[in-house]
């Protein structure tokens, strides 16, 4: 068996810090399967009650945007300032809107 086949796969760990908040990415770890990944994530990332819920997902299952395409993907939003409330001037007497 080669080394590559013997290494446990990599998992990304997401933790919900408290009820009502979203799960947030907090790190990664190696584990043989999902159940073990959950157990290890509990031991490594929630030793001080940092979480009430954990998600694990195999790293290879994540599709990420390509940094080389950052311009095409995100720049079009830059000139659409009319999407922000501050673009619009409202008479002061209207008060908070």
């Amino acid at each position: 068996m080669t080394t590559a086949l013997k290494e446990w796969p990599l998992w990304e760990v997401f933790v919900r810090s408290k009820q009502g908040l979203e799960h947030k990415h907090c790190g990664s770890l190696h584990a043989a399967d999902a159940a073990q990944a959950l157990e290890m994530a509990r031991d490594v990332y929630t030793r001080r009650q940092e979480g009430v819920s954990i998600w694990v997902v195999e790293s290879k299952a994540i599709t990420a945007s390509n940094p080389d395409e950052k311009g095409e993907l995100f720049d079009p939003a830059a000139d659409k300032i009319y999407r922000h409330p501050t673009f619009y001037e409202i008479p002061e007497e209207v008060g908070h809107m």
């Binding site: 013997k6 770890l29 043989a32 490594v44 390509n66 940094p67």
Partner: protein
């Protein structure tokens, strides 16, 4: 906890230092430099010069190795802790160090190296780890002094790394630093208790301080003047504060703590310098430091042998977990079919 600075030697200068000549694509290099100059962050998928990548892999993996080798000298005392309370605290600390190793290995893996490759480097003796762990923990007071001084020195080193230009390393450091404060405080408090004890217990604390003090000063790495390649780490935003400046901060912070504790730091030249508004301190024995780095410290062989044995003894567990995972997967596929 524990990084040592000598893997990225260091010099004054910061951003005025020119980049090392590069054979990289000039446009990509320019974009990278601009981002570094703007104090921006580099993320795993971003383009980066090969030398930057190599330096980070070396530094982060050495740092990770230091965390897990650092579990050994203290781990020796878990079964001999003087009370159940101290035992629970020590287990928690040693477990934290294991976690720190994991955060750091994960950060290094984002640069394209594998966990197995890094462990192979450590186990073959090729990769370095912090030399401080190549000294023995002779008494229970050593455990307290490690928490107070060794973790204390590590904290000084690690706080600026939270602003490191490489995102995953910086984030790992934020997590580590949050956990370190308990390490230092539990050690200091354990010593405070001993200092209220018998004459013999007080002497034990003083003896441990005497043996660890100079080694802790050396943890910050060689003096700035002897760190020729150093400017590069600063230029890249990997290192933020020079070895000597960190060492000075550590001395200045520790002197009043030693006074409260009631121990003497073993340096006749240690005194307040009104003009510099810092403490002066004596000469560090760099020959001894390099001897230990190069494998000739009192515990180098023992530490490495313990690590290798633990890894080899655990092989059947790793294999069994994989075999179990495969079997489960096959069963699921069969059920689905």
């Amino acid at each position: 906890m524990y990084t040592q600075s000598f893997n990225v030697p260091d010099a004054p200068g910061g951003k005025t230092v020119p980049l090392a000549p590069s054979t990289e694509d000039p446009a990509l290099q320019a974009a990278f430099d601009a981002r570094i100059d703007a104090d921006g962050r580099i993320e795993p998928q971003d383009w980066m010069p090969e030398a930057y990548r190599r330096t980070l892999v070396r530094q982060i993996s050495q740092h990770a190795h230091s965390e897990i080798v650092g579990m050994l000298p203290e781990g020796n005392w878990i079964s001999r802790a003087p009370s159940l309370k101290r035992k629970a605290i020590l287990i928690a600390k040693v477990q934290d160090e294991g976690g720190h190793g994991l955060y750091l290995y994960s950060a290094a893996e984002t640069l394209g190296t594998s966990r197995d490759q890094m462990l192979e480097g450590l186990h073959s003796g090729r990769a370095k780890y912090s030399s401080i762990f190549n000294y023995p923990t002779l008494t229970w007071a050593d455990v307290g002094v490690i928490g107070w001084l060794v973790d204390g020195a590590a904290i000084m080193n690690q706080i600026p790394l939270c602003r490191c230009s490489y995102g995953p390393y910086a984030r790992a450091m934020v997590r580590v630093c949050k956990e370190e404060s308990f390490h230092q405080r539990q050690g200091y408090e354990a010593l405070l208790v001993m200092m209220q004890g018998t004459a013999e217990q007080k002497a034990m604390v003083q003896d441990a301080v005497n043996r660890w003090w100079w080694k802790c000063l050396a943890m910050f790495g060689p003096p700035d003047a002897d760190s020729p390649n150093s400017a590069q780490g600063m230029r890249w935003g990997i290192k933020r504060i020079s070895n000597d400046d960190l060492r000075q901060k550590f001395v200045d912070a520790t002197v009043p703590q030693a006074k409260v504790l009631g121990v003497t730091l073993p340096d006749p030249d240690l005194k307040w310098n009104e003009e510099r508004q810092h403490h002066d301190y004596g000469q560090i024995d760099w020959n001894e430091f390099w001897e230990t780095v190069n494998g000739n410290g009192p515990c180098n062989k023992e530490r490495l042998a313990t690590r290798v044995k633990a890894y080899n003894d655990g092989e059947w567990v790793r294999d069994a977990a994989l075999a179990h995972a495969r079997k489960q997967q096959q069963r699921k596929m069969k059920e689905a079919a």
